[in-house]
Structure formats: structure tokens, C-alpha cells
């Protein structure tokens, strides 16, 4: 609309401009003043028209007042300035040519109406906005409360569902809250736990620093502590826990609550104890085992000044025979019974019994004076073994040999003490067994321990400490020397000459028997060649033969046949110059695999002799399938012929065996011939060959040669 200068429209706009300039500074609108003026222009027009309308309507003033509020003139100063402006300029700019008096009255009434309209609109707007913000606050509160509820629900679920026990107590120790896991651990209801005081939960196993840590936490001097703690359960059992207690502070940092997190470790602890028990106890007898015993012995020998210890080292006599004849199950039951009896012997404080292994037991006593105590302990043990043990309806007599060591702590190592006890036990055993002996340092030094020999064996072979003696085999028919049995000896640097019974079992045990056996075979075969070379001239006499013992271990050695053939070939000796002696017990129950190497050797011409015949329980019918050509009767058969007249039963037995052997085409050799009467008797019975002191003791090879020469010339 283009306003005519100073026309009504132009005057209206000038009024609006004046109005907007007056009010704009007190509005908070983001519009510019010209924009604000554009907002006021229709309001000015409305007032102008109301002023000049034929019939006056004061309500137009109310509308304009309300519109001011809508234009964000909410500061009452805006109303005041508006009314000033209307009062001064409305009639002047918009009155036209109407009656001035009438116009002024209309203007005044419009102003009153504007004030009322403004006030009402502002009131409504204020109420609406208050309502809106209150609603918003309420909704926000709802959202927050919901989130809080959800978070608390989550928190509670964590608390309740946690696998570890959680408890909260105040600083006086009163339990305020516990979770399900905790009540389960204690085996009581939540009500029972709540209100209890944690300071009462003491236990004899509490770590000494536990309650000091607790006090430090309560005082706010530490944030948390971690301990292993036991609790009494109402049912009398013990609950073991991994316990972590933390201090909870309020917003200002003051100690407020204590929070306990506990993990039930009872099962784990029991398992540990059981594992520890299993690691330290013998599964068969339930006695402490070797490692447990060593722990205790270590403690005993390292105990403070004035402390002594006493040790009994027990080895059952003849236990091997029980195992061999009645089986391992019976042997085990015997050991269990012995263990029970020994246990009953050592019940005083500081006493213990342990099983070292096999049929070896130890009993230990400690204290300020064990001299008499250990003597009594050994006596109790001997007495405990007196009553026979009943196994499978058999009454077995148990005998044992005990080595006793007693002394002050701090002088010897556990190993030394045990070695001394071992030696002393062997002394007791070699003195006939069923007794106890006291350790004697000088005797210890002299005694050959199995252990010492075992460790010296390998180097002994390298150092050439072994040598061979030969015992002649004499033909009973004509008394001529037909050969000799090679017998290995050990010239021990400290202990002198040792017989095979002292070291062959050890060599078998360690596997050294194979190289040692090969060495013996080599030496013997070389010796046989020497003899043959020397006697070669006397074609009349039969060539001397060499008998060599084979241990059961050598029988299973896969290199046996190869080694034997190699040795014979290298020495240039015919296989028929060699006879291998195998004990009867080694061949009992032998299967074809075991017999195969022997059979191959026999096929080549090597004689196989069944040694110690009659001591085992071999089935005579079995002899047919064994590749043997000679039976060597055990010396027990010839013993009965040493007296005169000879035992008729022995005579009958030997006669029967000889008859059987001959019918199987086996030659018979007898051992242990010590008298001429024996020799004569055996000759009558039909035995083929004999050896024994009557003819010659084992000796160096030269002696055999001499004998053979004597024999040949005699």
C-alpha cells in the first residue's frame, strides 16, 4: 500500500513507528525493530478503526492488548509505554476530523481495555508456561526415575545374582545387607545374617594381622584388605573364604560402610589338603610316604640344640618269598597288616611311621632324649611282628630286621642318617635277621651297601675290576677233567673280592648284566681257546669245554645270539666248546619267543644246561620242549649223600631224575660234591659229570690246566 504523504495511511504508519520505537527497547524479541513495527502496524490499524467506528467497540482494545503479549512484549513496561504512546499519539495521528472530546473518551476506554486484555493474556500465557515447564519437569522426573529404577534393578540383579558373596555392614560391624550367595555359603537365612556383628566372626585360624587390618579400614586408614578367612557355620562345619573388604565413603569422603566380597574356597582347600595328603602318603598302607618322611627327618636332624632323634629302619625278612609264592595281592595284604601294627607302635608325640617302598618301613622318634625311646620303639616293633599274620587262611610268620640310628640333631644330613640305618639293617639281616642292631660308625664304614655297590658297578667294568675263576667239571666215569664253569668275581678296591651273589642281582637290576655277561663270555671263550691250543697236541684227551652262566636278563637281550656267535668266531672256537647255563626258574613258563635264541644256539652246537635243577617247580614233561642237553642237579640233592649211609629218599630221587634225563637224552651234572663217598654214590646212580670242592675249588685258569694235565698223565 503506497501511503499518500500525510494521508491517513501515512499517519497510521507514523503512529506505528513511534509506538515501536517506544516499546522495542523493552521487548526481548529477536526480531529487528522494523520487523517489530510491521507486527504493530495491524494493531495500530485496529485501534485507529475502533477510534473512528460508527459504533464504538472497546473490546478491540482487549484484542490489541492480548496481541502485545503474543508479540512477546511480556515486560509490563511494554504495556506502560504502549499506553503512554496511545494516549499521546492515537487521537493525534488517527483521530481524523472527529469530535476531539469524543475521540479522547474513546481513546481512554481503548486504553483501559488494552490494559485488561494485556493483563489477561499475560496471565494466561504465564499460567500456560508454568504448566508446560512443570509438566516437562514431571516428565523428565519420570524418565529419570524410570532410568534410575532400571539401573537399580540392574544393580540389585548383580548384587543378588552374583556368584560371590556380598555383604554390607556399617562401621560398627552391623551387617546391613547380604546377597543370596553369602547366605548360601553360611547356610543360614538372610534374616539370621542381617543384624549380626562381623567383629564376632572370629575363628582360631584367623591370621594374626586380620583384626588389625579391620580396625585400620574402619578408621579410614586403609581402603581395603584381602585375607583368607575361616568362619564357623551354624552346622559346626567350617567355611573357608577368600575375603576382600573395602571401605565405602560418603560424598564428602568420610568412611560410611564396609563392603565384603567373599569367595567360598572350602572345597578348593579340601582338595588341596587331599592332594597334599596323596602326595605325602602311601596309597597302599596309608602311612606317610618317603617324601613326607624325608621332610620330617630333615626337620628332626636340623632341630635346635639339645634335640635328638632316633630312627628304626625295618626290612621284612623273606618278604620276596611271600610275594613269589602267594602272589602280590597276598603280599600287599601282609604289608597293610604290618603297617597297621607299626602305626600302633609309634603313637607318642614326635613319633612317626612311614613306608619307604617295598617292604621297607621307618619309624622316627624325636625329643631331648631319644636314646631309650628308640630302643623301646624298636622293641615294640619286634614284638608287634611276633604274632603271625593271617592271609587267606594261612598263618604267615613275619620277621624283620631293624637298623637303629640314634643321635643328636645338627650333626648329620638326612641322607647320611638313612644310609647308616640301611647299613645297620643289613648287618641285622646278615646276622640272621629277626633282630635289631644299633648303628656303629666303624661297622658302617666297613659295610658294603647295595647303594655303594650299585653306583660303583659301571666304572668297575671299565676299570677291569672283574675277573673270572674256573671250577673244573669232572667226568664221573673216568675222573677226567672235561671242562670248567666260569665264575665271575669282583675285586672291589675297598671290600676285596666279592662273589656273584653280592653284585649279580644289582647288575640285573641296573641292566649292567648285559655288558658284564658279554665280557664274561668273551673272557671265558678266549680261555677255552687257550686251553684247546695247549692241549691240541694231546689229541687223545677230549677238548676242554667252558660253562658260562646266562642271567634271565641276558636271555631277553635281542643281541644274545649275534654276540655269542661273534665272540666264538672271533676267538676261533667251535660252538661245541661252549655250554650256556640257564637257571631252571628263568625258563619256567618260558614261551617260544624266549626259547628261540636258545634253540638257535643249540642248533649251532652250543650246549644248554639247565642250572639249579630241582629248586624250581618245573614240569618234568616240559623238559622235552626245552632246547637243553644237560641237567645240573642242585647241590641240595647231593647234600643228603655226604653222610653214610646216604639218605635213601635222596638216592631214589636222584636215581629217578637221572633215569628220566637219560631217557630224554640229557646228560646229568651234579654240583656240590664234597666227599669221595658222594662221588662214588653219584657214579653208581649214573650221573655223568660232577663239580665240587672234592675235585677243586674255583681258581685261576692255570690251575685248571694243571689239573687237566695231571688227569691226563694220571
Amino acid at each position: 500500500m503506497i501511503a499518500e504523504p500525510d494521508g491517513p495511511e501515512d499517519r497510521l504508519r507514523r503512529f506505528a513507528t513511534i509506538w515501536s520505537r517506544a516499546v522495542f527497547p523493552v521487548t526481548t524479541t529477536s526480531s529487528t525493530r522494523p520487523e517489530f513495527e510491521e507486527q504493530l502496524l495491524p494493531l495500530a490499524r485496529r485501534l485507529s478503526e475502533a477510534l473512528r467506528a460508527r459504533s464504538f467497540d472497546a473490546d478491540q482494545g482487549r484484542v490489541v492488548g492480548a496481541a502485545l503479549v503474543d508479540a512477546h512484549c511480556t515486560d509490563p513496561e511494554a504495556l506502560s509505554r504502549t499506553l503512554d504512546c496511545v494516549d499521546a499519539y492515537l487521537v493525534l495521528y488517527c483521530g481524523g476530523d472527529g469530535d476531539p472530546e469524543d475521540l479522547r473518551a474513546r481513546s481512554a476506554r481503548l486504553q483501559h481495555a488494552m490494559a485488561a486484555g494485556y493483563a489477561q493474556a499475560l496471565r494466561e500465557r504465564t499460567l500456560a508456561e508454568q504448566e508446560a515447564i512443570a509438566q516437562a519437569a514431571l516428565r523428565a522426573q519420570g524418565v529419570v526415575a524410570q532410568a534410575l529404577h532400571a539401573s537399580e534393578a540392574r544393580f540389585r540383579a548383580v548384587f543378588e545374582g552374583a556368584a560371590i558373596g556380598i555383604g554390607i555392614a556399617d562401621l560398627d560391624g552391623n551387617v546391613l545387607q547380604v546377597n543370596r550367595a553369602l547366605t548360601r555359603m553360611f547356610g543360614v537365612s538372610e534374616q539370621t545374617l542381617r543384624g549380626r556383628n562381623v567383629t564376632r566372626w572370629t575363628h582360631p585360624d584367623d591370621a594374626p594381622q586380620l583384626w588389625r587390618l579391620y580396625q585400620e579400614l574402619i578408621r579410614g586408614e586403609r581402603e581395603h584388605y584381602h585375607v583368607e578367612k575361616a568362619f564357623h557355620r551354624p552346622d559346626g562345619t567350617v567355611l573357608w573364604t577368600n575375603l576382600t573388604v573395602s571401605l565405602l565413603r560418603d560424598a564428602d569422603g568420610n568412611p560410611q560402610y564396609q563392603l565384603a566380597l567373599m569367595e567360598d574356597t572350602t572345597e578348593r582347600r579340601l582338595l588341596n589338603l587331599r592332594l597334599r595328603y596323596e602326595a605325602t602318603h602311601d596309597a597302599l598302607t596309608g602311612l606317610p610316604n618317603r617324601s613326607f618322611f624325608f621332610e620330617r627327618l630333615e626337620k628332626a636332624v636340623n632341630a635346635g640344640p639339645g634335640q635328638r632323634f632316633g630312627l628304626c629302619y625295618l626290612d621284612l625278612d623273606g618278604f620276596k618269598a611271600v610275594n613269589d609264592s602267594l602272589g602280590h595281592a597276598a603280599g600287599d595284604r601282609l604289608l597293610v597288616e604290618v603297617a597297621d601294627r607299626l602305626q600302633a607302635c609309634a603313637t607318642a608325640p614326635g613319633e612317626m611311621v612311614a613306608r619307604l617302598g617295598g617292604d621297607e618301613f621307618v619309624a622316627l622318634t624325636t625329643g631331648p632324649d631319644t636314646r631309650q625311646a628308640v630302643d623301646e620303639l624298636a622293641t615294640r616293633i619286634m614284638n608287634a611282628l611276633l604274632a603271625p599274620v593271617s592271609i587267606d587262611g594261612r598263618e604267615l610268620t613275619v620277621r624283620g630286621s631293624i637298623g637303629v640310628v640314634e643321635g643328636p640333631a645338627g650333626e648329620r644330613s638326612p641322607a647320611e642318617v638313612l644310609r647308616s640305618a640301611d647299613i645297620t639293617m643289613y648287618r641285622a639281616k646278615s646276622a640272621g635277621g629277626n633282630r635289631f642292631e644299633l648303628a656303629d660308625p666303624e661297622a658302617d664304614a666297613r659295610t658294603i651297601t647295595r647303594h655303594g655297590l650299585t653306583t660303583a658297578l659301571p666304572t668297575a667294568l671299565d676299570r677291569g675290576e672283574f675277573f673270572i675263576e674256573y671250577q673244573p667239571l669232572v667226568h664221573l666215569g673216568d675222573g677226567s677233567v672235561r671242562g670248567a664253569e666260569a665264575l665271575v668275581r669282583w675285586l672291589h678296591p675297598q671290600h676285596g673280592v666279592l662273589g656273584p651273589d653280592r653284585f649279580i642281582p644289582l647288575a640285573e637290576h641296573t641292566g649292567l648284566i648285559v655288558p658284564l655277561g658279554r665280557w664274561v663270555l668273551e673272557q671265558s671263550v678266549r680261555q677255552a681257546r687257550e686251553w684247546r691250543e695247549r692241549c691240541g697236541a694231546d689229541a687223545a684227551s677230549a677238548p676242554l669245554r667252558i660253562n658260562v652262566n646266562l642271567s634271565p636278563c641276558q636271555l631277553t637281550d635281542p643281541g644274545l645270539v649275534r654276540d655269542t656267535v661273534e665272540i666264538l668266531e672271533r676267538a676261533g672256537v667251535e660252538p661245541d666248546a661252549l655250554c650256556l647255563e640257564v637257571t631252571e626258574s628263568a625258563l619256567i613258563g618260558a614261551d617260544d619267543d624266549l626259547l628261540k635264541p636258545l634253540r638257535r644256539l643249540a642248533d649251532m652246537g652250543v650246549d644248554i644246561a639247565l642250572d639249579d635243577f630241582g629248586t624250581g617247580y618245573s614240569n618234568l614233561a616240559n623238559l622235552r620242549r626245552l632246547p637243553v642237553s644237560i641237567l645240573k642237579l642242585d647241590r641240595s640233592f647231593t647234600r643228603g649223600m655226604q653222610q653214610f649211609p646216604a639218605d635213601p629218599v635222596d638216592l631214589k630221587i636222584v636215581e629217578g631224575i637221572v633215569s628220566l634225563a637219560h631217557s630224554l637224552d640229557l646228560a646229568v651234572t651234579v654240583e656240590g660234591v664234597e666227599t669221595g663217598a658222594q662221588a662214588e654214590q653219584l657214579k653208581v646212580l649214573g650221573c655223568d659229570t660232577a663239580q665240587g670242592w672234592y675235585y677243586a675249588r674255583p681258581g685261576p685258569p692255570e690251575r685248571l690246566h694243571e689239573l687237566a694235565l695231571v688227569d691226563a698223565t694220571g
Binding site: T28, T32, A136, A140, V143, V144, S151, F155, Y257
Partner: protein, 270 residues
């Protein structure tokens, strides 16, 4: 025991809110007595506060129109406060129907109120969020629904950064937001400063104390410090200036002296 950290704060209308105080300055009734009491204390030190707020809103209005003229029709208004007359969505959608606006505020009451105001407006929404956690804002459902981050966005940080202490590293948050914006995006920013206030700074400092008392400290920064928020932006003419001087539509000399307090500016990402 203490509430776990992930539980939200509760609503306490006896604690003054910066948004509602501002509404009171603008003559609104979206406030409670606690807000008004704090506002009256601040006004005692700085009677021109409403004029400063008004100048902020006038600048915001001009800047939004400028953005639309530049072809930017997506607005992310962080620290939006209580929607008053002349809100961003009103101005933007008047200039360009369908312009997208997402308001962000950390005050749950403000958010709840904004939701009511925006009911039925499909192109505008509000999300509860914190300027200091830009990732949460950018990945919110509202932003994902309304804002295409592959196109230019006008990021509005109007009268908010002076409520973030240096310890909370507002520069990092602003940079993180910048890095998420497409080239051609705009940063629209105002910030309080002692520079330009027509009063000795000791007097104006009383206002700072009032905000400190309501645990919502007001951080006055120098022009230089404020300019650093535009790192990575090219300043739009006339640069960082007192509010009335930014592309005025009426003569700046007609403005209230308080309107010249603090600085305003718009930057554009390359």
C-alpha cells in the same frame, strides 16, 4: 552406599538451571523460583543481561537465515535451551520449509519441554546429550534420522561454550564435532567475554560468582581464546565480532550497549 556411576541424576527443581534462567531473562515463565532467584542476583550485577541474551537470539536468527541462504538446511543446535520465540526451527523452516533441526541439551527438563514444543514437527527433534560427548550426539537416533552428515550441517554452539571449563577441554569436543562434519559445514558460535561489557569487569565478575554458586560456572574468555574454537574453519565475513556487528540488518548504533558484550562468528569448513 553410593549410587553406581551409570545411574542418571535425579531431577531437582530447587537447583537453578541455566536454560530456565535464560528463559526468565527473555520474559518467559518456563522457570521456577530457584531459577528466578539466581537470575535476580545476576541481574543485580549486570542489569543488561536480558539485552545480551536478546542480542544472542537476534544473531542466531541472522546466522540461521545466512546458513539457509548459503544452502545449508541441516541444523545441529547444541545447548539449545528452552525453545523460545524465534527458535532455530521456526526461523529455519520459515526461510526454508522442511529444514532439518536437531536440538541437543543435557538438561532433562529442557529436553522434555522441547519434545512437547516439537510434537508434530517431523523435521525437528531433540536429544538429551552432552557437548563433551560428541560421539553420543552424532550417533543418536535423532541425528541419524534427521541429519545427513555427508552434506553440510550448521553446527550451532550459541551461548554454550562459556559454560564449559578448560579442564573439560571444550576445544577437543569442538574439534571432534568439526571432524565429523562434511565440507561446507558452518560453525555458528557466540561466547561471553569481559570484552565489550559496558561495565568494569569487577562488577561483571559478580555474575560469574552467581553462576559459580549454582554449580554452573560461567567462563569468560578473551577474543583470542574464542577464536581458537574456529580452528579448521574459514571465518565468514565479518569474522569474530561483537554480536550487533555481525551482518546487521539495522544500524548497530541503535542497539543497546549491552548487546556488544562478548563475540559472535560463523566459520565454514573447507
Amino acid at each position: 552406599m553410593e549410587r553406581p556411576v551409570w545411574a542418571p541424576r535425579s531431577i531437582d527443581i530447587t537447583v537453578p538451571s541455566v536454560s530456565r534462567i535464560c528463559d526468565f531473562y527473555l520474559g518467559g515463565a518456563h522457570n521456577f523460583e530457584a531459577d528466578r532467584e539466581a537470575a535476580r542476583k545476576a541481574l543485580a550485577f549486570l542489569p543488561g543481561l536480558p539485552k545480551i541474551v536478546q542480542a544472542n537470539r537476534a544473531f542466531l536468527r541472522r546466522a540461521v537465515r545466512f546458513a539457509v541462504d548459503e544452502g545449508v538446511t541441516q541444523f545441529l543446535d547444541i545447548g539449545s535451551g528452552i525453545p523460545a520465540f524465534g527458535s532455530v526451527h521456526e526461523v529455519a523452516q520459515a526461510a526454508r520449509p522442511g529444514a532439518r533441526v536437531v536440538y541437543v541439551d543435557h538438561d532433562p527438563v529442557t529436553v522434555a519441554h522441547s519434545q512437547t514444543v516439537l510434537e508434530g514437527n517431523d523435521a525437528a527433534d531433540v536429544v538429551a546429550g552432552d557437548l563433551l560427548e560428541p560421539r553420543d550426539i552424532l550417533t543418536s537416533a535423532q541425528v541419524e534420522r534427521l541429519i545427513d552428515l555427508n552434506r553440510p550441517v550448521a553446527l550451532l554452539l550459541v551461548a554454550i561454550l562459556h559454560f564449559v571449563e578448560d579442564a573439560d577441554d571444550p576445544y577437543r569436543a569442538v574439534a571432534e564435532l568439526r571432524d565429523a562434519l562434511a565440507p561446507g559445514s558452518l560453525l555458528v558460535l557466540t561466547h561471553a567475554s569481559y570484552e565489550g561489557i559496558p561495565l568494569p569487569s569487577e562488577r561483571a565478575g559478580g555474575v560469574v560468582d552467581v553462576y559459580k554458586d549454582i554449580r554452573n560456572p560461567l567462563i569468560m574468555r578473551s577474543r583470542e581464546e574464542i577464536a581458537r574454537f574456529f580452528e579448521g574453519y574459514d571465518m565468514v565475513e565479518p569474522g569474530l565480532v561483537p554480536m550487533p556487528h555481525w551482518r546487521p540488518e539495522t544500524a548497530p548504533e541503535d542497539e543497546d550497549p549491552y548487546a556488544f558484550s562478548g563475540f559472535a562468528g560463523v566459520g565454514r569448513t573447507a
